[in-house]
Each structure stands twice: as structure tokens, then as C-alpha cells.
């Protein structure tokens, strides 16, 4: 563990001294290759063998690479897609990567297929341990726009996919209506992403520009946390727990923030369900009732939630929350900035979210950066963070100072 501690300490060195050399304000145009350095978002997942896989979009293509030493070095990148014009790399979008029960590596991403920003979700699978990927194929044959795919592997090894889908909006438009938002679609794959069941709609009105939070409850039923579109254009959060693999239950409101807006918030929620069955949620709002980042938990299978707990220092604009439960610990991380430095703040709970440690900054950078993500290897939790000035970082949280 000492090596991790050293790494974590090294990352905490004030960045002023190196910032000048790294040119954190360098325009993106100067970085056009397919390498991780040119990406604005990287998504991690641990394989059963302890290897860390990262997926990213850069140079017009999706790539993955494996690290056998917890993110310090990576094997040569493997192309998942050919060069595709306009892969969705919007503010809350990122490629998804999961590894199913048979060790197949499955990657999903969206790309804009026309000038009206209609997107399509594609899926590509590797059956040879990430050496090669089959050509990406659509997750559904419906022509309406799809964005924000999220993949999770269930305990049985099947893959559950959820995404935002415009098919009901398109149908309503055909009848002369002009509904806002999108629908929440889902499908299953039993063959490592090679094929999916016919897409179904779990809920009709959701925000069309925010990532989803997806997990499984203690009965291995899918749970989706999403920015819903409630009556009056209120973009507050809802959660839907499936009654079985094919049937979504009712939508329950996580919090009454009353954020009535016709803006694209570009900021979706985070969900983690602990082994205890407790739902842990974190989200951003600019609502009439509360503004900022919040955490709430449900010990009732998502039927009702605790009073939202505010996160972070308001003046430092806390954003991009991530929550992750691992055995013995529940972690919360988010980003703060003062316009110069950006820090990742971290809190831990040892009692399933009832009480929390004080927040502390565990990493900082002087340049642009991706959202902080939390990733577990089944036992331990890590912060996964891509920064422009300081590269990619994987920080083990228990060892962090």
C-alpha cells in the first residue's frame, strides 16, 4: 500500500510549479489524435483479473486500453470503432464499458448521425480479451435519436442497457404535438452485446441531455436513477425499480427540488446500491427549493428517500457527484473549482450513509478535467480522473491521505 500512498501524495503536490510547462489552457485543436491525452472523458472498469480497462473518445474514434498496474501504465490502445464523424462527447456523455460473466468486453457509445443532432447508440464486443472488437452495431433499429447509453452487468452475467430515446417524442410530433425531453428506454443482452432484446420504454418524460444512473437492487432487478421531466417542465430526479427483468415499476421522486427549466442541465445523477440494499443517490440541481449538489438514501427500495444533504462549498461551485458503495465503505466524490484550481473532494461513510466524514480534497489540477468517477474492483474503491495537465489518475481511496 505504501506505493499507493506515495502516488497519492505526489498527486497532491501544488500544481503551480508544473502548470506552466503543461499549458493547461492549450486549445483542444492542437490535440487531434486518438490517444487518451486527447480525450475529454475516460470511463473505467475493472476486469475479474484485476486489470483496469479504460474507454475513451479521441480523434473521432472509440478506443480502449488495459492497465495491469492500476493506471500507471497502459498497454497499446485497441480501436473499438472506425473513425466516425461526430461521436457524442457532449458534457455528460462518455463511452460505456462493461465486462460480462463470460469475460466479454462490451463498449457502447452514441454518435450524431445527421445535422439535426439525432444520435444512434452503437455497441461493440470483444470476445478475445480486448485484442479485437467486432464492428459496432446499433443497439436498436428504431430511427429516432438515442443518447446516453449506460451498460451494467448483472450477477447472472447478462447486460442491462438503458438510454434516452426520442421515439415517443417523434411519434407525438407526427401527431402535431411538440413534447419536450425524451423517453427512458431499456433492453437486455444475454450474449455479451452481440444482440439485444427489443427496446422498451420505462418512462416517457425524461431530460434529454443528462447521463443516467443505473444499478441492480439486492434482488438483481434493474434500478434507473434519472433526471425526469415532471409536470410544468420540472427537471427533478426520479428513480424506477423494476418489478422483474422486463417490467419497470412506478417512478418515485427522489427529491422535490422544483427545478422548472427549459435549459439542458447537462448534468445527470449518480446511483450506487449497497449490499445492504440501500439506494445511494447524488445529483445537481438549480431548483427553487434547493441549489447545488445533494445526497439522499433510501432504505425502502427507492419508495422514499432521506432529506437531501448538501455537498461541498457553494462558492467553489461543487459539481459532477459520484457515489460508490464497496464492502465496508460508502464514498462520495465531486469536483470544485475557484476558477483556477480544480479539486476533487471526497467523503466517506462507514454506516451505509447515515453519518459522513468531513470532506477533503484528494486530488487537484490547474487545467481542464473530466468528471470524477468512482470505480470498484469488488473490494476497494478508486477515484478515476482524466485531467489535461496531469494526465490520467487512478487513486485508491482507502490509502488517500
Amino acid at each position: 500500500m505504501r506505493r499507493f500512498l506515495c502516488l497519492a501524495l505526489a498527486l497532491l503536490i501544488p500544481p503551480g510549479a508544473v502548470a506552466a510547462e503543461h499549458h493547461p489552457d492549450r486549445p483542444r485543436a492542437s490535440c487531434a489524435g486518438p490517444t487518451l491525452e486527447c480525450a475529454t472523458a475516460a470511463t473505467p472498469v475493472f476486469a475479474p483479473d484485476g486489470g483496469l480497462w479504460l474507454a475513451w473518445v479521441a480523434g473521432g474514434m472509440v478506443s480502449v486500453a488495459r492497465s495491469g498496474d492500476l493506471g500507471r501504465t497502459f498497454a497499446p490502445a485497441v480501436a473499438v470503432s472506425p473513425v466516425i464523424e461526430r461521436i457524442d462527447a457532449g458534457p455528460d456523455a462518455r463511452p460505456q464499458i462493461v465486462i460480462d460473466g463470460s469475460g466479454r468486453i462490451v463498449v457502447a457509445f452514441a454518435y450524431f448521425k445527421d445535422d439535426n443532432w439525432n444520435a444512434q447508440v452503437l455497441v461493440a464486443t470483444s470476445v478475445d480479451g480486448g485484442a479485437t472488437f467486432a464492428p459496432p452495431h446499433p443497439i436498436t433499429d428504431d430511427p429516432a435519436s438515442q443518447r446516453f447509453p449506460t451498460l451494467v452487468a448483472g450477477r447472472a452475467g447478462d447486460i442491462f442497457a438503458a438510454w434516452t430515446d426520442k421515439r415517443t417524442v417523434a411519434a407525438a410530433r407526427a401527431q402535431g404535438l411538440s413534447p419536450a425531453g425524451a423517453a427512458l428506454a431499456f433492453a437486455w443482452s444475454k450474449d455479451g452485446g452481440a444482440s439485444f432484446t427489443a427496446a422498451r420504454i420505462a418512462r416517457d418524460s425524461t431530460c434529454e441531455c443528462c447521463r443516467l444512473g443505473v444499478g441492480f437492487d439486492s434482488g438483481d432487478r434493474p434500478v434507473i436513477l434519472f433526471r425526469a421531466l415532471f409536470e410544468g417542465g420540472v427537471r427533478d430526479h426520479g428513480v424506477v425499480t423494476f418489478s422483474d427483468s422486463a417490467n419497470p415499476g412506478p417512478v418515485r421522486r427522489v427529491s422535490d427540488d422544483d427545478w422548472a427549466t427549459n435549459a439542458c442541465p447537462h448534468q445527470g445523477p449518480s446511483l450506487s446500491i449497497a449490499a445492504s440494499g440501500t439506494y445511494h443517490t447524488a445529483w445537481f440541481t438549480q431548483g427553487r427549493i434547493r441549489q447545488g449538489l445533494f445526497y439522499a438514501r433510501s432504505t425502502h427500495g427507492g419508495e422514499r428517500f432521506s432529506t437531501p444533504m448538501a455537498l461541498g462549498t457553494a462558492a467553489r461551485h461543487p459539481s459532477r457527484p459520484a457515489v460508490l458503495a464497496v464492502p465496508g465503505a460508502l464514498w462520495l466524490a465531486w469536483k470544485e473549482t475557484d476558477g483556477q484550481d480544480t479539486t476533487i473532494e471526497l467523503m466517506v461513510s462507514r454506516d451505509d450513509g447515515q453519518t459522513w466524514s468531513a470532506p477533503r480534497a484528494i486530488a487537484r489540477t490547474a487545467g481542464a478535467s473530466d468528471h470524477p468517477l468512482l470505480v470498484g474492483d469488488g473490494h476497494r474503491a478508486f477515484l478515476s480522473w482524466l485531467t489535461r495537465a496531469d494526465g490520467y489518475r487512478l487513486i485508491p481511496l482507502e490509502a488517500a491521505p
Binding site: 461526430r86 441531455c209 439542458c264 447537462h266 459539481s319 481542464a368
Partner: protein, 160 residues
């Protein structure tokens, strides 16, 4: 020579196309603020892949048509790769072909957003009404154009 001359005449007779938008970075934002100091200025942030933005954009075009002297700067702030020709085409169609057009140099950079408006988490559309005295009024989401017109009238009255 005649075909060349014809071609040149044809080119001259085409409406002036909007110049490709210049990227806006932190120094650029500071320069923009100081260049417009003392002038009521509207900075409107929008995105090509933002549905509500595209619905509202023609209303900004209408406002500019009504008030040709309006100091309006439109900034494409989507993180999704945006082609300059596509931005120009969408602005043209919305009646904003002659508006001052910029793009956000690096939407990946939270710090740039923070410098522009510490309360902005990247939601679009966002409009900043910057008064003569430098007071900034933030309008998140679709604007109430009656309120924008009132604000502009107040700014004019204050000047008298």
C-alpha cells in the same frame, strides 16, 4: 477574362457570409468584458445539440432585427464538436447571421465557465445581461423576452 469577371461579380453579389466564429478563452472573455464596458451587452450562450436553444434562437434574431444597435454576442458553448460552417448556417437561419458570433474555446474546461459566471454549471441556454455599470443578470434557460426588452429600455433610460 470574361468568365473570371463574371465569377467575381457573382461572388460580390452574394450576401456576406458570417465569418467563422472565433474561440473564446479566458483572456478573450476578459477582453470582451473590457471592450464592452459601459455598454449594455447581452451575451447568449447556446449549443448546436441543445434542443431548447435551437427553439429559442430565432427569438434572439427577432430582437436583433428590432434593435439593430443591440450589443449581442452569441457564443456556441456545446462540448459536442461543432463545425464552424454548421454554426454559421444555424445562426443565419435564426436571423443571427450578422450577430457577433463566438465559440467557447474549451467547453471541457470548468474553470473557463467559472470565470464567465461562477454560478454556471454548463446548462444551456444561458444569457448574461451585462448592464452599463457592469452588473450581470443571469438568465438560465429560455429568456422572457418582455423582461429582456424592459431591461434594455431601462439601460437606455439610465443613459439619458
Amino acid at each position: 477574362m470574361r468568365p473570371l469577371l463574371l465569377a467575381a461579380l457573382l461572388l460580390l453579389s452574394l450576401p456576406a457570409l458570417a465569418a467563422p466564429p472565433q474561440p473564446l478563452d479566458q483572456p478573450g472573455w476578459a477582453a470582451l468584458r473590457s471592450a464592452h464596458a459601459g455598454q449594455p451587452t447581452i451575451v447568449h450562450f447556446w449549443g448546436l445539440s441543445c434542443g431548447p436553444c435551437l427553439v429559442e434562437l430565432p427569438e434572439w434574431g427577432a430582437l436583433l432585427r428590432q434593435r439593430p444597435g443591440l450589443d449581442l454576442i452569441v457564443v456556441e458553448a456545446d462540448q459536442v464538436e461543432a463545425r464552424p460552417d454548421r454554426i454559421a448556417a444555424v445562426l443565419d437561419k435564426a436571423g443571427l447571421g450578422q450577430a457577433k458570433s463566438r465559440t467557447l474555446a474549451d467547453p471541457f474546461d470548468d474553470r473557463l465557465r467559472y470565470r464567465i459566471d461562477a454560478g454556471w454549471a454548463g446548462e444551456l441556454p444561458l444569457t448574461l445581461l451585462i448592464g452599463r455599470d457592469g452588473t450581470v443578470t443571469r438568465v438560465l434557460g429560455g429568456a422572457d423576452f418582455a423582461a429582456v426588452r424592459r431591461w434594455l429600455n431601462q439601460q437606455t433610460e439610465q443613459h439619458r
